[in-house]
Symmetry: C2
Subunit: 235 residues, 2 copies
DNA sequence: CTCTCCTCGATTGAATACAATCGCAGAACC
DNA sequence: GGTTCTGCGATTGTATTCAATCGAGGAGAG
């Protein structure tokens, strides 16, 4: 009947997976460090079985590396891949945005929008509002999480599970790279989301793709400016 | 001491994962069909635990969908995503090819190529030879598997685990889409691999990227010609 | 006859228990 | 003194076991 623990034990294993991934991305688990199943199990209050499943998923996503009988280690942050990852992400995200726009138009062309679509769309409204509140309250620390959820929400809206899976993988890596340049351009970046959402709602594929592409590119420039500043190329 | 079962039980769980994925890609497990853990466990002669881990990894890769207590089903083939997946794959693969070329140049610029690099490079030679033999012997059925291995091998050579993980995910999807257009253009497609390899070995980044991009695009055109032929766009 | 509720079988989720393997420390030998 | 080998501790891999949940089918009320 599940009156207690409202939506927590619905997905106990999923929760462990998300928690570990989150710890990796935001630095609680350092890159290269060794993680033992027993430690994670006791940390999250479950047995080793769900932890093992989570580690396997994370391995598929590229966040941990495992060797038989040798255990798992947190993967190294792909610093060298930054440029390339941004390029790939740009293509994936603009594709997703275009498809989301097309799908939005389809939803209203037909009889009635599917409930699945509405659920995703409503979640995005909540995310955008929460982000705006965070910006207004100067609680910029909340933005990284909301940023990921916004982009994944758009992927959900696009209806393509394949592209969504690719995005989950790559956006996780990018957040990992710089845990969001939140002090530097958090406000502006968040503001761009509204425009993207509007283009999608309007069913405007070209604009949606273009705005998303620009959004990712701004992010890329922000990253380069902050980290790769002086030595753009190595001799 | 592992004298028996030479390289089979080294990675029993990995083997189950690869086997299931292979069955999905090449059609032994139909899209949309329900898969029970017990059935897979008995099929591969292991218990349910490694099967569950494999399913979680496949879920992360987007090949199966799971709902708590409702079991797992093989995901639907992303037919609608074909165009987009080819576009994304083009970017990923050409990026990988350019990086592989750069890395090849670096290997010979320094003191001595790393053993890791050499291992990957040697594997590619074997794959290319095996493919040529298969073509000569008209054993085209072997090409799909070798094709995947060639592309993943180049990814290995690029040295970027992130890009390799992305490629693994997307190339699996594309093989799944058309289990390789082997009768139609298997020979020509395979022939292009040598040229790509040569550009990489020469450390020629632009050529490597361009050739790989063209290679993927040929593949895309082959797919469209064969499946999406008449109705390029829906009214 | 239809709808609702409930029970039961099947299946998944999780925990415990045991076997297999690896890496390291320390002793023995050269 | 250095090298090699051998136990031992720690950790992972797998099987077995039990609890939780879902879905289908039937009984009963309206």
């Amino acid at each position: 009947m599940r009156l207690l623990r409202p939506d927590q034990d619905v997905a106990a294993p999923q929760r462990v997976l998300d928690a570990i991934r989150r710890d990796i991305i935001f630095g609680a688990l350092a890159a290269g460090s060794r993680v033992t199943e027993a430690a994670l199990a006791s940390k999250y209050g479950v047995s080793r079985v769900p932890v093992r499943e989570a580690l396997r998923a994370l391995e598929a996503e590229g966040f941990v590396e495992s060797r038989p009988y040798a255990g798992s280690t947190v993967a190294e942050i792909p610093l060298d891949d930054a440029e390339d990852l941004f390029a790939v992400r740009g293509v994936i995200e603009s594709t997703i945005a275009r498809r989301a726009a097309r799908r939005a138009a389809e939803q209203f062309a037909g009889d009635a929008p599917s409930s699945r679509w509405w659920t995703a769309r409503r979640a995005l409204t909540d995310i955008l509002d929460a982000g705006d509140r965070a910006v207004a309250a100067d609680a910029l620390a909340e933005l990284p999480e909301l940023n990921i959820r916004f982009h994944l929400g758009v992927a959900e809206l696009s209806g393509s599970a394949s592209l969504a899976a690719l995005l989950r993988q790559i956006s996780g890596k990018i957040e990992w790279l710089y845990a969001v340049d939140v002090d530097h351009r958090g406000r502006q970046s968040w503001g761009e989301h509204r425009a993207i959402m509007a283009a999608i709602d309007a069913g405007n594929e070209p604009d949606a793709g273009r705005l998303m592409s620009g959004h990712v590119d701004s992010s890329r420039r922000g990253y380069l400016q902050r980290f790769a500043g002086p030595d753009q190329t190595d001799p």
